[in-house]
């Protein structure tokens, strides 16, 4: 973990409620894809944990959904403003176990961490397939960004307004994969857990106090004992999840 002060370069809306914020500065503390950062915001006591979408050459990209006071405040910030950020939090994804054809499944606001993971897997010479699940066509973001990385991309919408009609588990049908990675709302994660036939990694979300392992605010029970989502997580292996 590292505490850094980053400058907002860009903060734009991708959909009605999803924004992309690009920060620049010392991002050396970000050591893996699937990690998160914890942002101090004026007038709010607790920092706000946001997953890392991309990090390269001193530029940190966060794609976040406005869900409450913190993210709403972030959405109103402008280029040039400076943020106090704890970076390099959490374990992140382990790509060494992915095999040649990993499947990446992101649902809604669980899509962003899949981006840096996908980039890393491709850089390692693997052929990832990416499933991006949304409720409706107007909620879709980052489809082209994943395609630009060179990944095979399948989009699903619950109402069928774009791509495969149904849930991400419908889009999974008939796809061969060596391993999987997923992030999204818990009902989706549970469905993916049941629908997958290989090992894989899940990224979890929880209300956090500190974000760096001090308060025990985000603990969960696993097969291998108690884990802090912020420290030993947010990524847990399929085999250690108690579902």
């Amino acid at each position: 973990m590292k505490q850094v002060f980053l400058t907002i370069k860009e903060n734009i809306a991708l959909t009605d409620s999803v924004y992309k914020m690009v920060l620049s500065g010392d991002t050396s503390g970000v050591t893996n894809c699937g990690q998160f950062v914890n942002i101090k915001l004026d007038g709010l006591f607790l920092r706000r944990p946001i997953s890392v979408c991309d990090c390269e050459d001193g530029q940190l990209t966060l794609v976040y959904k406005v869900v409450g006071r913190g993210t709403e405040q972030m959405s109103r910030m402008n280029a040039g403003e400076i943020l106090d950020v704890l970076v390099g939090l959490g374990n992140g994804y382990d790509t060494t176990v992915s095999g040649d054809a990993p499947l990446l499944i992101g649902g809604g606001v669980g899509v962003p961490p899949m981006y840096m993971l996908c980039k890393k897997l491709i850089a390692e010479g693997k052929n990832p397939t990416v499933i991006l699940g949304f409720n409706r066509a107007d909620e879709i973001f980052y489809e082209n960004e994943f395609k630009a990385l060179g990944a095979r991309v399948i989009v699903s919408t619950v109402d069928g307004s774009y791509g495969v009609k149904g849930f991400v588990t419908d889009a999974m049908k008939g796809i061969d994969y060596s391993y999987f990675y997923t992030c999204g709302p818990e009902p989706m994660l549970k469905a993916v857990y049941r629908a997958t036939n290989t090992s894989g990694q899940f990224s979890f979300e929880e209300r956090m106090g500190c974000g760096f392992g001090a308060c025990m605010g985000c603990s969960c029970k696993t097969v291998t004992g108690y884990k802090r989502i912020c420290k030993e997580g947010p990524v847990l292996c399929k085999e250690e999840i108690l579902w």
């Binding site: 973990m1 006591f45 209300r207 106090g209 500190c210 392992g213 025990m216 603990s219 969960c220």
Partner: protein, 303 residues
């Protein structure tokens, strides 16, 4: 030059700054960030006889200038604390540590305290009779003078190290409880633990915290904490540790003027991991600003 060292129950501290239990783990998360030997000491994660997972999540809620937590005393149990946590701590902390203890019966307090009392690294036992998060547990000891003195007497009978009793603010007369602890042989008092609080999510119309209620801490509670420290420090003769909403060197001096010999810093560590380092580095400057040469000269200075 200013003098920041204070004496806490016979042990000299380089400065009065002590990270509070539950906000500093067993120290090593923070040792990655700075040399934790600069601290006066710290109070480690509340330890019980048996291992505990604690409460279901969510355990944390945002509040105006503060937060609510309902962790519920998650800890590995006293045996593992002694066999695993303390040896790990020894590698990054060479001072005496404060052992924070909780329990659900007098016997549990006695068991845990007597084991930790034998550990060379432990300087003080901080007996938490005030955690509001455990149903029918610690809270009942902290809310009645009789129950509080029963715990203190039993713990004192099996220990040799200073016993500091951590009090709950969720009582009608905190002075009566502090006095009962002093009469029962306590060597010091620390206060305040968190204040019982609650938040409701307007969208779900459910409490934010799975346990419904939890302990409110952070800057917002500072004036209440200061008032209680003032009342207790002027009513007992044993040393008092002040805590509750402390976030800067100015707050430390205010707590000491109210009667605190040392000051614990809690929730601030969670939002600003360098909080204690910053406060320690800032203290000489702030002392100078207010014409304080020696912190011992101001303890209880406000009558």
């Amino acid at each position: 030059m200013v003098t920041t060292n204070v004496n806490l129950c016979g042990i000299e501290l380089d400065n009065p700054i002590i990270p509070a239990s539950g906000t500093f783990g067993f120290g090593y998360e923070f040792a990655e960030l700075y040399d934790i030997n600069i601290l006066g000491t710290f109070s480690f994660k509340g330890t019980t006889k048996e291992p505990r997972f604690g409460n279901p999540t969510p355990r944390i809620a945002e509040c105006e200038s503060g937060m609510i937590n309902a962790v519920g005393l998650q800890n590995p149990g006293v045996d593992k604390v002694i066999s695993e946590e303390l040896p790990k701590l020894k590698k990054c902390f060479n001072k005496k540590v404060m052992a924070n203890v909780s329990g659900f019966s007098v016997e549990e307090y006695v068991h845990t305290c007597s084991l930790l009392d034998k550990c060379e690294q432990v300087g003080w036992l901080e007996v938490n009779i005030s955690c509001p998060n455990v149903h029918g547990g610690g809270m009942s000891f902290g809310t009645s003078p009789e129950a509080a003195s029963e715990v203190v007497r039993a713990v004192k009978a099996v220990t040799t190290k200073p016993v500091i009793v951590k009090l709950s603010p969720n009582v009608t007369d905190i002075v009566a409880i502090a006095k009962a602890c002093e009469d029962a042989g306590a060597d010091g008092i620390s206060l305040i633990n968190t204040m019982l609080g609650m938040r409701i999510d307007l969208r779900t119309r459910k409490p934010v915290i799975a346990n419904k209620m939890g302990g409110f801490s952070g800057k917002a509670i500072f004036p209440v904490a200061l008032r209680m420290v003032y009342q207790v420090a002027h009513a007992v003769k044993i040393p008092v540790i002040g805590m509750g909403g402390v976030s800067c060197a100015e707050d430390v001096i205010e707590m000491m003027l109210a009667g605190a010999v040392a000051v614990e810093v809690g929730a601030q560590n969670l939002i600003d991991p360098y909080a204690c380092k910053r406060i320690i580095e800032d203290l000489p400057r702030v002392m100078k600003k207010y014409g304080i040469k020696n912190l011992n000269d101001i303890i209880g200075g406000v009558l």
